[in-house]
C-alpha cells in the first residue's frame, strides 16, 4: 500500500513539474477575460441524470451560476456517457459546432476523448478554485491515465456495499466471504450487468483481490497479461453465478435497481459508488432504516470523477466559469452535505472548513475506514467487459 502511494506521488510530481514551468503569471487577467466572455453564454452540461439528488444539486448550481455570472446552464440528463462521447466524435468528425459544453466523465470515456484529441484545454489547473484542490487525492490521474489538465476533478467515490441489518448481521468482507455468503443465501446475490459502470467496478474489485499480481493492472492491458491476470476471476465467477439471483442467467440493469431489490428483500446485498448513498436512500424512504454500509477488509476501489470540455464546445468560457464554481469550497461543501447529494469533496479539509457542516455520518452512511484501492488502467475496462460479455453475456 505504502509503495503504491509513493508511486502515485511520484507520478503526480512528474505531472506537476511541467505544469509549474508552463504556468503563466497573467492567470488572473486571463480569468477576468474568460469571465467576461462567459457572461450571457448557455452551457449545455451533459451529466448522468438518473438520481434526483444529483439533478436537484445541479439545478441549484445552475441557478447560482445565473445569479452570479449571468450564465445559463442547461443540464442535459444523459443515461450512458458513452453516448455523449459518440456524439462528440461524430460532431467533430463533421466539424460541427458542439452540442456539449461540459461533460461529467471519467475512466475509459475520458481516455477515448483524450486519445482522439477531442478535448479542449488544458484548462483545469488554471481555474482560480484549483488552489483549493487536495492534491493528496488522485486528482491528476484518471484510471491511471494522466489528466494533463484536460479535466477538472469534481468529486470522489469509493465502492461501498449495502445490507439490511434485519436480514444480514455479518456481511461478507472479502471475495472469498462473498462466495461463502452466496452459498449460504442462494439466489439472493447479484451485481449489475456489465458494461454497467457499477457492475464493471465490482468485477475490477474482485479482480484486484483474486489476481496473483495486482501491479500488472496499473499498466496498459495486453493479451497475455489479461489471460494470466483474469483467469482466477473467471474461475471465481463460474462458481458464483449458479448461486446468484436467477442462477446468474439474468442480472439487474443498474445499482439503483439493486437498491430497490434490496429494499424488497429480493437481494441481500447491494453496492454503490457513493459511501453516503445508503443514508440518502433511507432519508428518501427507499431503503429500510435498518440498512447500513460496509466495505471489504483489504479495501475497495475508489476514484475521482471529473468535468471535461469538448474541443468543439460553443461555450468553453462559460463551461470553465461553471466548472470553477462547482469546484469552489461553497459548492463542494454543499455537494458533500448528506441532505443534498453526499458526494465526497475533492478539496482540502482546510478549504472546506468554513463551509462544511459537521461531518457526522447520517444513519446508513459508511462509518468504517475502508482503505482505497486504485483503479486498474483504463484499458482494462474494455477488455474486462468484452470478456465478461463473451463468457456470460448470452446465458
Amino acid at each position: 500500500m505504502k509503495k503504491r502511494i509513493a508511486s502515485c506521488l511520484l507520478a503526480a510530481l512528474g505531472l506537476v513539474l511541467p505544469g509549474m514551468l508552463a504556468a503563466k503569471p497573467a492567470a488572473t487577467a486571463d480569468w477576468a477575460a474568460v469571465s467576461r466572455e462567459a457572461r450571457g453564454q448557455t452551457v449545455y452540461f451533459n451529466a448522468w441524470g438518473g438520481s434526483e439528488a444529483i439533478n436537484a444539486y445541479i439545478a441549484w448550481a445552475a441557478a447560482e451560476a445565473r445569479k452570479r455570472y449571468g450564465l445559463r446552464v442547461e443540464h442535459v440528463k444523459t443515461g450512458d456517457t458513452a453516448d455523449v462521447v459518440r456524439r462528440i466524435q461524430l460532431e467533430m468528425s463533421r466539424k460541427h459546432d458542439g452540442s456539449v459544453d461540459l461533460l461529467w466523465v471519467n475512466g475509459e470515456n475520458f481516455k477515448t476523448l483524450k486519445d482522439g484529441g477531442l478535448l479542449f484545454g488544458p484548462w483545469a489547473e488554471q481555474l482560480p478554485s484549483w488552489r483549493h484542490v487536495d492534491l493528496q487525492k488522485p486528482v491528476r490521474v484518471d484510471f491511471s491515465e494522466p489528466t494533463a489538465g484536460l479535466e477538472a476533478p469534481w468529486g470522489t467515490a469509493q465502492l461501498t456495499f449495502i445490507a439490511d441489518r434485519q436480514r444480514v448481521s455479518a456481511p461478507p468482507r472479502s471475495a472469498a466471504e462473498w462466495l461463502a455468503f452466496a452459498r449460504a443465501n442462494p439466489g439472493r446475490l447479484s451485481y449489475p450487468r456489465p458494461p454497467d459502470f457499477h457492475g464493471t467496478t465490482f468485477l475490477k474489485q474482485l479482480l484486484l483481490e483474486l489476481t496473483p499480481d495486482a501491479a500488472i493492472l496499473a499498466r496498459p492491458v495486453n493479451e497475455a497479461a489479461f489471460a494470466r491476470a483474469t483467469a482466477p476471476l473467471w474461475a471465481y465467477l463460474d462458481q458464483l453465478h449458479p448461486l446468484q439471483w436467477q442462477q446468474g442467467r439474468a442480472f439487474p440493469p443498474s445499482a439503483a435497481e439493486m437498491h430497490r431489490m434490496l429494499a424488497d428483500g429480493e437481494l441481500r446485498l447491494s453496492l454503490t459508488f457513493n459511501p453516503n448513498e445508503a443514508a440518502n436512500l433511507i432519508a428518501a424512504g427507499q431503503l429500510p432504516a435498518s440498512s447500513y454500509s460496509f466495505g471489504f477488509r483489504k479495501g475497495t476501489i475508489g476514484n475521482v470523477h471529473f468535468l471535461a470540455i469538448p474541443g468543439n464546445a460553443r461555450a468553453s468560457a462559460g463551461a470553465r466559469v461553471f466548472a470553477n464554481f462547482l469546484l469552489s469550497p461553497e459548492a463542494q461543501a454543499r455537494k458533500a452535505d448528506i441532505a443534498v447529494w453526499g458526494d465526497p469533496s475533492v478539496l482540502t479539509a482546510a478549504a472546506l472548513a468554513g463551509h462544511a457542516k459537521a461531518a457526522t455520518a447520517a444513519p446508513g452512511a459508511l462509518r468504517e475506514a475502508v482503505p482505497t484501492l486504485p483503479e486498474p488502467h483504463a484499458s482494462w475496462v474494455g477488455a474486462l467487459e468484452r470478456e465478461w460479455l463473451k463468457r456470460y453475456g448470452t446465458r
Binding site: A250, F251, S254, E257, D264
Partner: protein
C-alpha cells in the same frame, strides 16, 4: 380530393410531405457501412447477436399472433352485440396509453416484487419476493405477451373501423337466420373477409415488435437484450467498429422483419387453402357468447394504471406490504416540470404541423401516392430514426427543437392521415357541389363547409397526432441529441433506476397527457355540435 385545379397547392402538398419523408433516404447512407462483409462477420461472431435475435423473433411473433388472436376472440365474442359499442368507446383511451407507461405499469403489477405478488404473499407465505422471472425472462416471452395485450387494443381499433361497414352485420343476420351458429358464421363467412383487411395493421404490429426499444428496455431481458436494443446500443457506442456493427444489426432487423412477413404471408395462404365452402351443416348450438371476455383485458389495463397512481403517491413501500406504509405527495411536489412542458410543446407543434400537412395533402395531394405515406408505420423504426439523425447532422439541425419535431412528424403524419382518410373519403360531395354552385372558392369551401363538418375527425386526428408524438422515444433521443428530456425519455431512463415513486409520476404524466388531449377533443367536438343534431 384532387379537385384542386391550381398547381401551386398540389405542389405545396407534395413538397410538404417530401420535407418530412425524403431526407431520411440520404440519412440512411451512413448505415451502408453495415453492409460490408467484414462487419457482418463481426456481427455474427458476437455471441450476443444470435441470442438477441432469438429474443426479437420470439417476442415479435408472440406479440403479433397473440394480439391477433386476442383481438379476434374479443370481436367474435362481442360483435354484433350491445357490448361491442361499449368496448369501442373505451378503445381510444386505452390506445392513447403510451407503450412505455403501459410497460412500466405492467412491470409494477407483474414483477416478482410487484403488486400481484404482494397480494399473493400472505397466501403463499412469502416474506421475500419469489426468485421467479415473471418479467425480463431470457426468451422475451413476457415482453411478447405484454406487447400482445397492448397491440390487441390497436387491432381492435382497426377491426372496429372494418366492422363499421354495415355489410358484415347484415351477413351475420342472414347467416344466423339460415340456422348457422354465431362462431360458425364468424369462421365461415366473416373471418375470410376481415382477416385480409387486417394485413397492414398486422404488419405495423410486427414492425413495432421487431424494432421496439423502450418497452424492451423495461420488460425485455438484459443479457442479452433484444436485437433492437443491442443495435441501438451499438449505434450509440463510441467505438467506430461497434457503430458499424450497429448499422449491420439494423439491416439484420429489417431482414428479419421481411422474413417474418414472408412467413406470415405463407401462413395466410395455408389458412386460406384450409377454408372450405360452407358445407351446409348447421351448429346452431355454437352460439355461446362469453360477453365478459373484454373484462380481463380492460381490467388489466385499469389495474396497471391504478398501480402507477398508487406508486406515484407511495411513501416507503417494501415487499410484502400490499399497500404503502405511508402516503406522500413528494413525488408530485418535487416534480421537474421541464420534461412535461417539452413534451407538451413537441406534441402540440408536431400535431399542429401534421394536421396542416395532412389536410393539404388530402385536399390537393395526388391520392395515388398516399399509400407510400404509411410506410413508416410498417417499417422497423430503428433504421429510420438513425437515418433521420444522420440527415439532421448533415443539415446541422441535430439537437434543435425543429429537428425533433421534424423527426416526430415521420410517425405523426401517417397516423393522422390514417385517422382522417376515411372521413374525408366519405364526405358527402353534394355539399361541395352545392357550395361551388354558390360560387365559393376552393379554400372557402374547405374553410366554411368541409372542415367545420369534419371537425370531430379533425380533432380526433389532432389528439392521435399528439399522443403519437408524446410516445416517441428513439426519434427524440436520436434527433434531440439527448437534449430533449420528455416525459417518455425520462420514464424510460428512470425505469432502470430504483425510485419507483419518481418513475410512477413520469409514467402517470405520460399516461395523462394524451388522455387529456383526447378528452379535450371529445369535449370540443360535443360543444361545437351542441346545436346540430346528427352532425358527425
Amino acid at each position: 380530393m384532387g379537385q384542386c385545379r391550381q398547381c401551386l397547392p398540389g405542389a405545396l402538398a407534395i413538397a410538404g410531405m417530401a420535407v418530412v419523408f425524403l431526407p431520411v433516404l440520404p440519412g440512411l447512407l451512413p448505415l451502408a457501412q453495415g453492409l460490408e462483409l467484414a462487419v457482418w462477420r463481426g456481427l455474427l461472431a458476437d455471441a450476443q447477436t444470435l441470442v438477441a435475435l432469438r429474443v426479437t423473433v420470439i417476442s415479435s411473433v408472440v406479440s403479433t399472433l397473440l394480439a391477433l388472436l386476442l383481438a379476434l376472440l374479443l370481436t367474435m365474442a362481442l360483435y354484433p352485440g350491445p357490448r361491442w359499442p361499449a368496448l369501442q368507446r373505451r378503445l381510444p383511451a386505452l390506445l392513447a396509453m403510451p407503450h412505455a407507461a403501459f410497460a412500466i405499469g405492467a412491470f409494477f403489477l407483474l414483477a416478482p416484487s410487484g403488486w400481484l405478488a404482494r397480494w399473493l404473499a400472505p397466501l403463499a407465505g412469502w416474506d421475500v419476493p419469489p426468485d421467479w422471472q415473471t418479467v425480463r425472462d431470457p426468451y422475451g416471452l413476457s415482453l411478447g405477451l405484454l406487447l400482445a395485450v397492448k397491440e390487441a387494443i390497436f387491432l381492435l381499433w382497426m377491426l372496429a373501423a372494418v366492422l363499421q361497414e354495415g355489410a358484415l352485420q347484415r351477413q351475420m343476420t342472414l347467416a344466423r337466420s339460415l340456422g348457422y351458429g354465431r362462431w360458425q358464421v364468424w369462421w365461415l363467412c366473416l373471418l375470410p373477409q376481415v382477416l385480409p383487411r387486417l394485413g397492414w395493421p398486422l404488419l405495423a404490429v410486427l414492425a413495432y415488435g421487431v424494432s421496439v426499444v423502450d418497452v424492451a428496455l423495461i420488460l425485455g431481458p438484459g443479457s442479452p437484450p433484444s436485437l433492437a436494443v443491442l443495435a441501438w446500443r451499438w449505434l450509440a457506442d463510441p467505438e467506430l467498429a461497434l457503430q458499424a456493427r450497429g448499422a449491420a444489426a439494423s439491416w439484420l432487423l429489417l431482414l428479419v422483419f421481411l422474413l417474418l412477413c414472408g412467413c406470415g404471408l405463407l401462413l395466410w395462404r395455408l389458412l386460406r387453402a384450409a377454408w372450405r365452402q360452407p358445407h351446409g351443416r348447421r351448429w346452431a348450438g355454437a352460439s355461446w357468447q362469453p360477453r365478459w371476455l373484454a373484462w380481463p383485458l380492460l381490467g388489466f389495463c385499469y389495474l396497471l394504471a391504478l398501480a402507477l397512481l398508487l406508486w406515484s403517491l407511495a411513501g416507503p413501500w417494501f415487499f410484502p406490504a400490499a399497500l404503502p406504509q405511508s402516503w406522500t405527495l413528494a413525488g408530485w411536489q418535487q416534480l421537474d416540470t421541464a420534461p412535461l412542458f417539452t413534451s407538451l410543446g413537441l406534441g402540440l407543434a408536431s400535431a399542429g404541423i401534421g394536421l396542416a400537412l395532412v389536410l393539404l395533402w388530402l385536399e390537393c395531394g395526388p391520392p395515388a401516392l398516399s399509400r407510400w405515406l404509411y410506410l413508416p408505420l410498417i417499417l422497423p423504426a430503428l433504421p429510420l430514426a438513425a437515418g433521420q439523425y444522420h440527415a439532421l447532422l448533415m443539415a446541422g439541425l441535430a439537437g434543435s427543437g425543429f429537428g425533433v419535431v421534424w423527426s416526430h412528424l415521420l410517425w405523426v403524419v401517417p397516423y393522422m392521415l390514417l385517422t382522417l382518410y376515411k372521413p374525408y373519403l366519405e364526405f358527402d360531395t353534394r355539399m361541395i357541389t352545392l357550395a361551388r354552385s354558390l360560387g365559393l372558392s376552393h379554400w372557402q369551401r374547405c374553410w366554411r363547409i368541409k372542415w367545420p363538418l369534419l371537425l370531430r375527425p379533425i380533432l380526433a386526428a389532432l389528439a392521435i397526432g399528439f399522443a403519437v408524438s408524446i410516445a416517441q422515444y428513439l426519434p427524440t433521443l436520436f434527433a434531440g441529441g439527448g437534449r430533449f428530456a420528455t416525459v417518455t425519455t425520462e420514464a424510460v431512463a428512470l425505469s432502470s433506476g430504483g425510485n419507483r415513486r419518481v418513475l410512477a409520476v413520469q409514467a402517470m404524466l405520460q399516461l395523462v397527457l394524451p388522455m387529456l388531449m383526447f378528452a379535450l377533443a371529445t369535449l370540443l367536438g360535443q360543444w361545437a355540435g351542441r346545436h346540430r343534431q346528427g352532425w358527425r
